[in-house]
């Protein structure tokens, strides 16, 4: 790890430091940027991203080039399913949640089966799945209206529910605790690290690597589906490819948080900080009037720069 500058050895500390710097910078550029209300708004967006990144994080930790490019498609699909099943009525919420989770799990399962049984590289498998989902979304849109969020859902996502924090932030905290528990205190979590570090040795030690890897993709689909429901609550109604903008940031958040793209190393705490950092950065870029295209370029470049620093550890490992 000698090739990595000392600063970059503590991803969590860097992310927190960057968040603080960006907030101060934002306040200078546009007074009110770091106000409590504004920060809460940023945290809501960060929570949406963070929930997607939880699934992404699991898939990446599992190694063997694990990555899930289909999350954007699953988010969009989930938002449409939720919008139609609840269609503005609170009574439809349970069914909507169930439907979305089943759909997310189903496409995650297909990803997992493709990657393990058919040995398709995750990049190709999930990119193909993204294409399938995008086509499916077009078909759905031609047949049915996009639907509307139920009032309770919108309230949950945007309005304070407890101690002044919106429900989605509590949900994100719960996801954070769940992930920490899963990764540190369950055998399943230890096995994720084991297959991510040395899959062959893990199999020789009795770890059912294929089953675990399938489950990781299923969980990624489920997390994306949950994010899709929340996104519907955030925007009121779903629109075309609403989820697409989350795919690249979900990967950047994971890598920024110190999880190795080679797998087997990292955790979710850093990813949470990474998600907040990205949302604050995006907000600053908007404040200084950088177009969507410019923001995309900056995000892409961020990932490549991160790889430049973190990627070395991997090259040295193999």
């Amino acid at each position: 790890m000698n090739g990595i500058p000392p600063l970059f050895r503590q991803p969590l500390a860097i992310a927190l430091l960057l968040i603080a710097v960006l907030l101060v910078l934002g306040e200078q550029l546009s007074p009110g940027f770091a106000s409590m209300q504004q920060i809460l708004r940023l945290l809501i967006v960060a929570a949406l991203l963070g929930i997607v990144a939880a699934g992404q994080n699991l898939v990446i930790l599992g190694g063997r080039e694990g990555i899930d490019l289909s999350v954007g498609g699953i988010i969009s699909l989930s938002a449409i399913i939720a919008g139609n099943l609840m269609n503005g009525a609170d009574a439809g919420i349970p069914l909507a949640i169930a439907g979305c989770i089943v759909a997310g799990a189903f496409f995650g399962l297909l990803n997992g089966l493709g990657v393990t049984l058919l040995r398709i590289p995750p990049l190709v498998m999930t990119l193909g799945m993204l294409g399938v989902l995008q086509g499916l979304l077009v078909v759905i849109r031609n047949g049915i209206p996009s639907g509307r969020a139920a009032p309770v859902l919108s309230q949950f996502v945007t309005q304070p529910v407890l101690f002044g924090l919106p429900g989605i932030i509590w949900l994100w905290i719960a996801v954070g605790l769940l992930m920490a528990f899963l990764l540190r205190r369950t055998v399943f979590g230890q096995r994720i690290y084991a297959i991510g570090s040395n899959e062959h040795a893990a199999i020789m030690a009795g770890v059912p690597a294929a089953r675990i890897r399938i489950l990781l993709f299923v969980l990624s689909g489920v997390f994306a589906a949950i994010a899709g429901i929340c996104l519907l609550g955030y925007s009121g109604s779903s629109f075309a490819n609403v989820g697409e903008q989350y795919m690249l940031p979900s990967i950047i958040a994971v890598v920024f948080g110190g999880t190795s793209l080679a797998g087997g190393k990292g955790g979710y705490t850093g990813t949470m900080a990474g998600a907040v950092m990205l949302v604050v950065l995006q907000s600053i870029l908007t404040t200084i009037n950088i177009e969507e295209s410019g923001r995309q370029m900056i995000f892409g470049a961020t990932l490549l720069v991160l790889m430049l620093f973190y990627g070395r550890g991997r090259a040295m490992r193999t």
Binding site: R184, R185, T186, V187, F188, G189, Q190, R191, Y193, A194, S197, N198, H200, A201, A202, I203, M204, A205, G206, V207, P208, G264, K265, R317
Partner: protein, 503 residues
């Protein structure tokens, strides 16, 4: 003038001397046999001639002129053609393409000249007319062929190099009798054309059938070269193992409580790399797998553990037949497996020592939650039984020395003790004191009734620790050595013996 002369070549890997004084003189028009025990330096010497290993010192001469064989490409230009034991064929290409692979005929410097290629390949295919077997054709893709047919293609490819010096490293391991006979006829023809052939085989009968001269290598030195006609198999084996007679363990181990009961019965086990492996293993017994490197010992152990498939045969545990398809199933049935290749099969790199000790415990106890306190308590006795030196359970395993890493890997099997322990060359690359600790532990485990199979590429280890030794050659057990018969001499006599029932 000799065709090729190696004078006093040496090669050292780190602290290991692979070859200290290697001499080899090859004449034109002879079949020259190389023999040596495991780790003798035979394969290093061969690799030096092939250009895949560069010697640290010494001289190499071809036709009396000093040369440097700087790489495989240079070896080819110098007129050396090599048959690779690990097949070097392009699986998706056809037989004829593979035969001409190293020198594809071109048209206009850009396109493959199909007609010339077919003509040229046909000459070498014709040499084996009648013995190639069903499904063999010039345009058949190599991955559709059987193992013996692929080996024939490898031979044809080597012959197609038309090099004055040809090196064959175990070219006959997969061939049947008729194919071997034909191959030997071809070699005799080449010999009459004044070509030089180096032949490595693990079959004494083949060595005496085709060899003109033999060079014996032991402990990194060339011991002797002589005409085959002037010697006999026992004398060769004597030269190969040396005068010092390493005896089997003097003291028989104390009988275990349930000693005598069969723990594992295997019969007719066959799969990729091994065939017709059968034995009974009793509780408290250490069964050795011996023979030269790579004769199917590892492959059979991995198949028993569910890591490699087996095609036929039966495995029964304490009298009950089982079919094991994955390591997880094997572990639940009471198997343990320790590999010498710990970086591939053992160590979970980058994770803590605790995480490296616990996976078997998780599986056998069907645990779902990690309780570090309880796990440390459970792992403590296992890891101290191995006398592992480490600073703390939370340290990364990579911070330990190789020997200590291997001890941690072994300790993972000792929390919930298995019934059957499979040791696949477990001491490869670890220090002497770790080896001593490991064998002390193995003896103790056997004394408590564990049934153990030990494959070791170090003969001394095997002779000192195994109660019985099954000697493998060409994927098959060829002889069993028990009691007073467990000597280095017998080990090598058996290692060079033709397999039971081999055609």
């Amino acid at each position: 003038m000799s065709k090729l002369v190696l004078r006093d070549v040496s090669k050292t890997y780190g602290a290991t001397v692979a070859l200290s004084h290697g001499d080899l003189t090859l004449e034109a028009g002879e079949v020259h046999v190389l023999i040596g025990s495991n780790g003798s330096g035979k394969s290093t010497l061969c690799k030096i001639v092939a250009g895949s290993v560069r010697p640290d010192s010494g001289r190499v001469e071809i036709d009396g002129k000093p040369v440097a064989i700087s790489g495989p490409q240079a070896a080819r230009t110098l007129g050396i053609g090599i048959f690779y034991q690990e097949l070097s064929l392009a699986a998706r290409r056809t037989v004829e393409e593979n035969i001409c692979l190293s020198d594809l005929p071109m048209k206009a410097g850009l396109f493959i000249d199909r007609a010339t290629l077919s003509d040229r390949a046909a000459r070498y295919i014709a040499l084996f007319d009648g013995v190639t077997g069903e499904g063999f054709a010039a345009d058949a893709p190599v991955d559709t062929l059987r193992a013996d047919q692929r080996q024939l293609v490898e031979i044809m490819k080597t012959l197609a190099s038309e090099a004055p010096i040809l090196i064959f490293d175990e070219p006959t391991s997969a061939l049947d009798r008729a194919q071997v006979d034909r191959f030997f006829e071809i070699l005799r023809g080449l010999k009459n054309d004044s070509r030089t052939i180096v032949f490595i085989s693990h079959r004494m009968d083949e060595i005496f059938a085709i060899g003109d001269r033999v060079t014996i290598i032991r402990d990194g030195r060339t011991i002797s070269s002589m005409a085959i006609a002037d010697t006999q198999p026992p004398a060769l084996i004597r030269l190969m193992v040396g005068e010092k007679e390493e005896l089997a363990s003097a003291s028989a181990p104390a009988p275990a409580p349930d000693a005598g009961k069969t723990a594992l019965a295997v019969s007719g086990l066959s799969g990729p790399g091994f065939a017709n492996v059968g034995f009974d293993l009793k509780h408290g017994e250490i069964l050795g797998f011996g023979g030269l490197h790579g004769q199917g010992q590892s492959a059979a152990l991995r198949a028993l553990f569910g890591a490699n498939p087996y095609v036929s045969g039966t495995v029964s545990l304490a009298g009950h037949p089982v079919r094991i398809a994955t390591p997880a199933e094997a572990i639940r049935q009471g198997f343990a497996y320790v590999s010498g290749d710990r970086r591939r099969d053992g160590v979970i790199t980058g994770r803590s020592i605790l995480e490296n000790v616990t996976p078997i415990h998780f599986l056998r106890r069907r645990l779902a939650l990690v309780r570090p306190g309880a796990l440390r308590k459970a792992a403590e006795p296992a890891i101290s039984a191995m006398k592992t030196r480490f600073a703390g359970f939370s340290h990364p395993i990579d911070s330990l020395s190789g020997g200590n890493q291997q001890k941690v890997v072994i300790a993972r099997w000792l929390i919930d003790r298995p019934d059957i322990l499979l040791l696949d060359d477990p001491t490869k690359g670890i220090d002497l004191s770790a080896k001593a600790d490991l064998f002390a532990l193995i003896r103790e485990l056997a004394a408590h009734g564990m049934a153990i199979i030990l494959y070791s590429s170090e003969d001394a280890e095997l002779l000192a620790n195994a109660d019985r030794i099954l000697v493998f050659n060409g994927g098959r057990p060829v002889r069993e050595l028990t009691g007073e018969d467990r000597t280095r001499y017998n080990l090598y006599q058996a290692a060079y013996e033709a397999a039971f029932g081999a055609a």
